[in-house]
């Protein structure tokens, strides 16, 4: 009888005595709708009778509990526009966490954190802020500019598409090349569509200088800070990103360049296609999923354990850290919240991992971080990391 058989097989599974074919037989009985009642009855017995033989680590139980309670990120109104959509698509597709969950990586300190924090105020997250510098040096504050046609620049029309993006559209051929520059402050981000259709996401405290319409032989832009590029394919005119003495040479592809001056190296993360890093006569070819970074004044190296998701998290609306030290996390927060960070006493050792929405306010992020045993004092725009 099937009921008897499923009982035997349950028993054998629990004792680790099933052969491979018995295991398959058990699986078959588990999906048999006529046996559902018997299956659940057996589970009920095990629940009641078995001793507690396995336990979660306390940190795991804590983290799981935090995930069960609705996390603050879900309760926030959607403020991002196009960025919000992107983030939503990413969440729906794949991304792992919806809540503000930080797991203390290798730190042992799991004291009651929130009590140690002092917040005199809160700081709002960044948003769509940028300044456009035209060829003659005139600047347009994009936050307050109306949507629509902003200017005509060297054979291209400059259109503000919505609150967070700008598009260049070619209107005349063979004009002399004219450069514009788009810059974001701390707490700013902006999207730019170049005249060739290349899509650029500019992160906070960054700038990109580019021709309003590209010339015939190549497409070169200059970057400081960080941007993600989806380059329109054009085999005849390679796309080049020039930054800090290094060139990224592209045919048609998606990649991120992180060239902040306060980061230890210029890091290029390739998502699709292929790019070539060129520095001081040296060259390195990247394949999808790889990261390359500058090493010293003139070297290039492949990053071991490249993490594409982490490198691209910012443009999908997240902070994402894996094995990060506290200084690295703070550098990112300072750019996005426009804060100044100081350290009091010994700097916290250890590495941290986790993921959080960039639409959270600063104190929400800090409260999440303090689950890992770090404490903060926030006064105005001055953040102190406490030992």
């Amino acid at each position: 009888m099937k009921e008897e058989r499923i009982r035997q097989l349950f028993e054998g599974w629990m004792n680790g005595q099933l052969s491979e074919s018995e295991e398959q037989e058990w699986m078959q009985l588990l999906v048999d709708p006529t046996l559902e009642d018997e299956r659940d009855r057996i589970i009920g017995h095990y629940y009641q009778d078995l001793p507690i033989g396995h336990r979660m680590e306390p940190e795991v139980a804590d983290a799981l509990f935090r995930k069960i309670l609705p996390a603050p990120v879900r309760e926030l109104p959607q403020r991002r526009r196009r960025w919000g959509l992107l983030a939503a698509a990413v969440m729906a597709g794949a991304v792992v966490l919806t809540g503000a969950i930080w797991l203390a990586g290798r730190t042992k300190d799991t004291g009651k954190p929130v009590a140690g924090n002092v917040y005199k105020n809160d700081v709002a997250p960044g948003g769509n802020h940028a300044v456009l510098t035209l060829a003659g040096g005139a600047t347009i504050l994009l936050d307050s500019a109306a949507d629509g046609n902003l200017a005509s620049q060297g054979g291209a029309k400059v259109l503000k598409l919505d609150a967070g993006s700008l598009s260049y559209q070619r209107t005349a051929a063979d004009m002399a090349m004219v450069y514009n520059m788009l810059s974001t402050p701390s707490g700013g981000q902006y999207q730019l569509i170049l005249s060739d259709g290349t899509h650029v996401w500019l992160n906070a405290l960054s700038s990109i200088r580019f021709p309003t319409a590209f010339g015939g032989s190549d497409r070169t832009v200059e970057l400081t800070g960080e941007a993600y590029f989806e380059v329109a394919k054009d085999n005849k005119r390679p796309f080049k990103v020039h930054t800090g003495g290094m060139d990224v040479v592209v045919l048609g592809t998606s990649f991120d360049v992180n060239a902040y001056k306060d980061e230890p190296a210029i890091r290029t993360t390739l998502q699709q296609g292929s790019v070539k890093l060129v520095m001081d006569g040296k060259e390195m070819l990247l394949h999808p999923g790889q990261q390359g970074e500058t090493e010293g004044p003139d070297g290039l190296a492949l990053v071991k354990d490249a993490d594409v998701d982490q490198a691209l998290a910012w443009m999908k609306g997240f902070f994402s850290f894996e094995d990060a030290d506290i200084q690295m996390i703070m550098r990112q927060l300072s750019r996005w919240y426009g804060i100044e960070v100081r350290y009091e006493g010994l700097r916290k050792k250890g590495s941290f991992g986790g993921k959080m929405g960039r639409d959270l306010s600063l104190t929400q992020v800090l409260t999440g971080l303090s689950q890992s045993g770090i404490h903060f004092r926030l006064e105005g725009k001055q953040l102190t990391v406490l030992p």
Partner: protein
Amino acid sequence: MSDENEKSWLERTAMGDEGAFRALYDSYSPRIYSLGMYLTRSSVMAEELVQDIFEKLWKRRTHLSEVDNFSAYIKAMVRNTAGNHLKRMAHERLILAKIAREQTSVEQPAELAMEQDHLRRIWKEAVDSLSPRVKEVYMLSRMEGLKNAEIAERLGISIYTVKEYLKNALSVIRTHLDNGLPLLVAMAFLAGKKIF
């Protein structure tokens, strides 16, 4: 724990008190987690069982003050939820076993191939919808049989991340399986005698 304590936790949880809910969690989650480990031998799935049950409890919290016998209430929930989790685990394993078989065997009866196509398609759709990194972790776990710690080491990520990725992969795959379930059950029956 005394019944009176528990009654007060339930009442406070019903009013949205997270501390009281935490007390319920601390008191019941160890037994549920342990059961999950016995049944699935996977900490990822055991945690998922705990999460699933307590998320349901929190959603229904306003009714908790009316529950007379909470032990019986939660036992019924555990039976039902763990039963569903086991069923999904079985579906996933059956599909993986078939794929493994398909890769090794050369000749197959036509109807068997058709049925495998269907299962495979559901599974493959689900797997293809995962982000590359999540997919990589899932494949290493399920196709190469690596342990979570081995995956963490190989990919240079933390074991917590591996577990989060696996949870994500499993929930996506199970949603696909649940949607294709009626047909799938019929298929599993059909396949039963021939394959195993």
